[in-house]
């Protein structure tokens, strides 16, 4: 030991050896350069390195990893495709990341009972693609559906453009298999029978942002394709007219399958991206409206929508003439967030919810925040259910801009909660909005929720530091970011 100048190769961490024993050498990443790609998810403002990334192949391996971590007091968290926008999969505490991407199979489809069983790493859109030849689909359609996993959707209770009519993820989950933080495997409503008696534990787990358990199997509802479908694109010279049209459509008694809005900056972004449609560059807003259902009623609804738009001074309004055209409109909308990369090096997306009728004033407030901060804000969102997505465009390479963007984001959420809204519609709280939880909950309400977490996750080893503000520990993440930004 002493006297020996020859440096020995550093011994591998015994915990890593144990994880390798569980899943095999190839399924564990533990060297820094390999871990670097896991230092953030779709929310890139915060970055932190995990201890390891493990790739279990089945529920038993997940349970063994969880058991090992929990008995040895090692923090851990679950990760899917890592497309989350609130930082839910970022390892703030040097966690062992349990990546579920190798549990990616469609286990069974029961057309008679309209349900399918999938593993958590199964990609959202693949479900629809696998059953579409039989005329079925899976309704929740987050914009990242090409890549995001259904396990991640459950954790975040993901929404999407068509959730206005069909509801978000929680409305489509019929059963779950979950590994609890102590390693125990439980089944909730195994047969997929709805309305089981007792507390709605499934509802509690859906949207718990990976703080209550690791989902390893999901039974979902599948739907028959609607008989008919039509899509409308409407261009407005004034954003206020566009916003008013949204309320008018809903108050006319129409429930569109989707009712989406983009403002001028958002349109600039999507037109600069990979899927441009050729929207005019001098309009202030566009609406993308889809109606589906029984064929007979659709054209009447479309006619009514066209009338509403005309009543609000629409410049141009058109109905998609082909499936190909409809597809182009949707690709343009669904790749909207990523397309912002074409006009800005970084963005921060917020996820406020407001009562629809307050849309004009809240948008005006958001533009005021943009003017004040000097940062551009693009709005591309689910107008129909009042779910705003202000995208704050910034350049993290410029000193102070990250901090400014965070501040502007908080201000946007404040503007939403001030009109009786909420701070998240579908992206989750994660790291990003945990402080803003105070806008909508009192200390007592937060405490009550933390007590629920403690029932499942008493040692707070699973996805620690997410979802709730952590005042007692003085480890406000945003403060750390501010400090590091200030130092630079």
């Amino acid at each position: 030991m002493f006297g020996s100048k020859k440096r020995k190769k550093p011994q591998r961490d015994p915990h890593i050896n144990k994880l390798i024993e569980i899943v095999g050498e190839k399924e564990v990443l533990y060297e820094d350069a390999d871990l670097l790609s896991y230092d953030c998810d779709g929310f890139t403002v915060h970055k932190a390195m995990p201890k390891a990334v493990v790739f279990p192949a089945n529920t038993e391996e997940v349970a063994a990893i969880v058991r090992y971590c929990s008995t040895n007091n090692i923090p851990f968290l679950a990760r899917g495709a890592g497309t989350g926008l609130s930082g839910g999969a970022i390892p703030l505490n040097r966690e062992v990341i349990i990546s579920l991407v190798k549990m990616k199979h469609l286990l069974s489809v029961d057309y008679e009972n309209r349900q399918a069983v999938v593993q958590p790493g199964f990609v959202n859109l693949k479900l629809t693609n696998s059953i579409s030849d039989k005329g079925y689909y899976y309704a929740p359609d987050p914009s990242s559906q090409y890549v995001c996993t259904i396990g991640g959707n459950v954790a975040e209770n993901a929404g999407g453009a068509h959730c206005l009519k069909y509801g978000v993820t929680t409305n489509h989950i019929l059963g779950l298999e979950v590994v609890l933080p102590n390693g125990e495997i439980i089944e909730i409503s195994e047969a997929g029978v709805p309305d089981s008696p007792g507390y709605d534990v499934m509802g509690l787990l859906t949207g718990s942002e990976g703080t209550l358990g690791v989902v390893t199997k999901i039974t979902v509802r599948i739907l028959k394709n609607p008989e008919g479908k039509q899509t409308v694109l409407a261009y407005f010279d004034h954003i206020e007219d566009g916003s008013r049209a949204v309320s008018d459509i809903i108050s006319a008694g129409i429930v569109p399958a989707a009712l989406e809005m983009m403002d001028k900056t958002a349109i600039e972004g999507v037109e600069a991206g990979a899927y441009p449609v050729g929207h005019p560059d001098d309009i202030e807003a566009l609406l993308l409206i889809e109606v589906d259902g029984i064929k007979a009623g659709i054209s009447e609804q479309i006619e009514e929508i066209l009338n509403v738009c005309r009543g609000r001074n629409v410049r141009e309004v058109k109905v998609a003439e082909s499936e190909e055209e409809r597809g182009r409109w949707w690709a343009n909308r669904k790749t909207g967030f990523g397309a912002m990369g074409a006009i800005s090096p970084d963005y921060l997306v917020q996820d406020g919810v407001i009562p629809r009728s307050r849309l004009p004033e809240v948008l005006e407030n958001i533009y005021e925040i943009s003017r004040e901060s000097g940062l551009r804000i693009a709005n591309i969102f689910h107008a129909g259910d009042g779910n705003l997505h202000p995208l704050i465009l910034f350049d993290s390479r410029k000193p102070g801009e990250t901090e400014k963007a965070l501040k502007a984001g908080t201000a946007c959420l404040k503007a939403c909660s001030d009109v009786g809204g909420s701070i998240t519609g579908e992206h989750g709280v994660g790291i990003e909005k945990k402080e803003e939880m105070r806008f909508v909950f009192t200390d007592e309400e937060l405490e009550a929720q933390i007590k629920i977490r403690e029932v499942f996750n008493p040692d707070d080893l699973l996805n620690k530091g997410k979802l709730f503000p952590t005042p007692s520990r003085c480890m406000d993440v945003k403060k750390i970011v501010k400090d590091t930004v200030a130092v630079q």
């Binding site: 961490d13 990443l29 060297e31 820094d32 350069a33 390999d34 670097l36 790609s37 953030c40 998810d41 779709g42 890139t44 403002v45 915060h46 970055k47 932190a48 390195m49 201890k51 990334v53 790739f55 007091n73 090692i74 923090p75 890592g82 497309t83 390892p91 703030l92 505490n93 040097r94 990546s99 991407v101 190798k102 990616k104 990609v123 990242s144 090409y146 890549v147 991206g273 990979a274 790749t335 909207g336 967030f337 990523g338 397309a339 912002m340 990369g341 074409a342 090096p345 970084d346 963005y347 350049d395 993290s396 390479r397 990250t402 530091g465 993440v477 750390i480 970011v481 590091t484 930004v485």
Partner: protein
């Protein structure tokens, strides 16, 4: 240990503090990675991510690492080199990317840096030097090889080697490559050595120059011949500029950008007087179109490269854009089409070759699912990364219907790789180049016309 883990990692905003761990010359372009917002929409498009499930082998992961070298977080070492070279360079991510991030360009720049920091050694180095430096850029040596290969085939040596199992001493993947070696024809470079302009039968409507390619001309001389015949059939005179050389795609993919630049300059000069440069190998075409990327530090050459790149066109797109005669004779085959990555993702050519096929009477066209997913050939990737290449090929073959008689495509690398796939899975499908099918249909037209003519003549005589 546990104490250390309990302390939260200090989080930092992503910012790049210069290009710290890169060599200053020809470093990856910061503006390219600034476009990436880490949304992850590229993940499911990436064959190596689908295979490994690991983010460092995904496009956004690679971009993240490339950025991390600039930020000084990692070094130009093995663990950076591995993900960067594991990339197939298939460009599927550029199609999937909402922000048009040039991942392919970044990867190639990063490879250039890696090769500066850690030159290739061992058998990979030897293979690379042999093919990339010693062989492809030298036409006369390629012709010699062609001659030797032909001798190998004709002399019965090939048969002997296959029978006695000498192949067993070769590494598996090289042996399986040998087994699908096509029957060789005379390279057109050699055949038209003394011809300046290959004439049309009728009045010429245009004159085009052809890039013969190195592998294409040696391994698939017949496809080059078909290309010439189809072009002249459609009233295009063809020239084969003598000074042309290897396109350099493989060099640039392998990180040897210096050699890539040399070859690029030679080609730019060779085709200076050409109005149109027609290419039948997707990989070459894509590389030629990307020459400007190589000359960031040489503005004059960059300008010339841009002029040159504008002239380059894939054969299928050229025919589609300028018009072609629809054949009248039927081929009566069930055919599917595989998108070469560098045609679909690299050049955006998808519709044109399909239309060519559909215009041939008797073709029963079947669309391949995931037609634009890489087959694993990827230049010499199947030689340098055989395991991954094979896994990617397996995935590809799963999508090929058992009953297709022909699989058509527009790239020689894909043709060799798909031929291996067909052989491995015991399929009967023939691997063909799109332009060959058109050529065969025209040939049939001519035979039929000849037959009709002789019948007509006979008829007249009888009368």
């Amino acid at each position: 240990m546990l104490k250390e883990m309990a302390a939260p990692e200090k989080t930092a905003p992503c910012s790049s503090a210069g290009l710290s761990n890169y060599f200053s010359a020809d470093h990856p372009d910061e503006d390219k990675w600034a476009d990436c917002v880490h949304c992850g929409m590229c993940l499911e498009a990436c064959p190596t991510y689908l295979e490994t499930g690991q983010e460092q082998h995904s496009p956004r992961g690679r971009v993240h690492l490339i950025k991390s070298v600039a930020e000084g977080k990692i070094q130009l070492k093995e663990q950076f080199a591995d993900p960067v070279f594991q990339c197939l360079d298939c460009r599927a991510c550029t199609t999937a990317c909402p922000a048009d991030v040039d991942v392919g360009g970044l990867i190639e720049e990063a490879r250039g840096q890696v090769r500066q920091a850690m030159p290739l050694k061992g058998w990979k180095g030897a293979v690379s030097t042999f093919f990339l430096k010693g062989l492809f850029p030298h036409q006369e040596r390629m012709h010699t090889v062609s001659g030797l290969l032909k001798f190998y085939q004709k002399s019965g040596l090939q048969k002997a080697v296959r029978t006695i199992g000498a192949l067993k001493v070769m590494p598996d993947h090289l042996a399986s490559m040998e087994s699908i070696m096509p029957e060789l024809q005379t390279p057109v470079q050699k055949k038209y050595k003394d011809v300046d302009v290959i004439p049309t039968k009728g009045v010429p409507k245009a004159r085009v120059s052809m890039l013969t390619g190195c592998i294409m001309d040696v391994m698939f001389g017949d496809i080059n011949q078909s290309t010439i015949d189809v072009l002249t059939h459609n009233d295009n005179e063809v020239t084969i500029p003598k000074k042309q050389t290897c396109c350099g795609a493989l060099h640039v993919h392998a990180g040897d950008r210096e050699k890539g630049r040399k070859l690029a300059k030679q080609n730019i000069e060779a085709f200076e007087n050409s109005e149109k440069v027609v290419v039948n190998a997707a990989g070459c075409g894509c590389a030629l179109k990307e020459y400007p990327e190589l000359f960031k530090d040489e503005p004059q050459w960059k300008e010339r490269a841009e002029v040159f790149a504008e002239k380059v066109e894939d054969i299928s797109k050229y025919l589609y854009d300028t018009g072609y005669e629809k054949p009248r004779s039927s081929l009566n085959k069930k055919i599917t089409y595989h998108d070469a990555c560098h045609l679909a993702h690299g050049q955006g050519v998808r519709h044109e070759p399909r239309q060519l096929l559909k215009d041939i009477p008797g073709v029963e066209y079947t669309e391949l699912s995931n037609a634009d997913t890489c087959c694993g050939s990827a230049g010499i990737y199947n030689i340098t990364n055989p395991e991954m290449a094979e896994a990617v090929l397996d995935r590809k073959m799963e999508n090929v219907p058992e009953d297709v008689e022909m699989i058509s495509m527009g790239n020689p690398g894909c043709m060799l790789q798909m031929a291996m796939g067909v052989r491995k899975y015991g399929r009967k499908s023939e691997i063909v180049h799109t332009v060959q099918l058109l050529d065969w249909a025209y040939q049939k037209d001519e035979q039929n016309a000849g037959l009709e003519k002789s019948i007509a003549v006979a008829g007249e005589e009888e009368a």
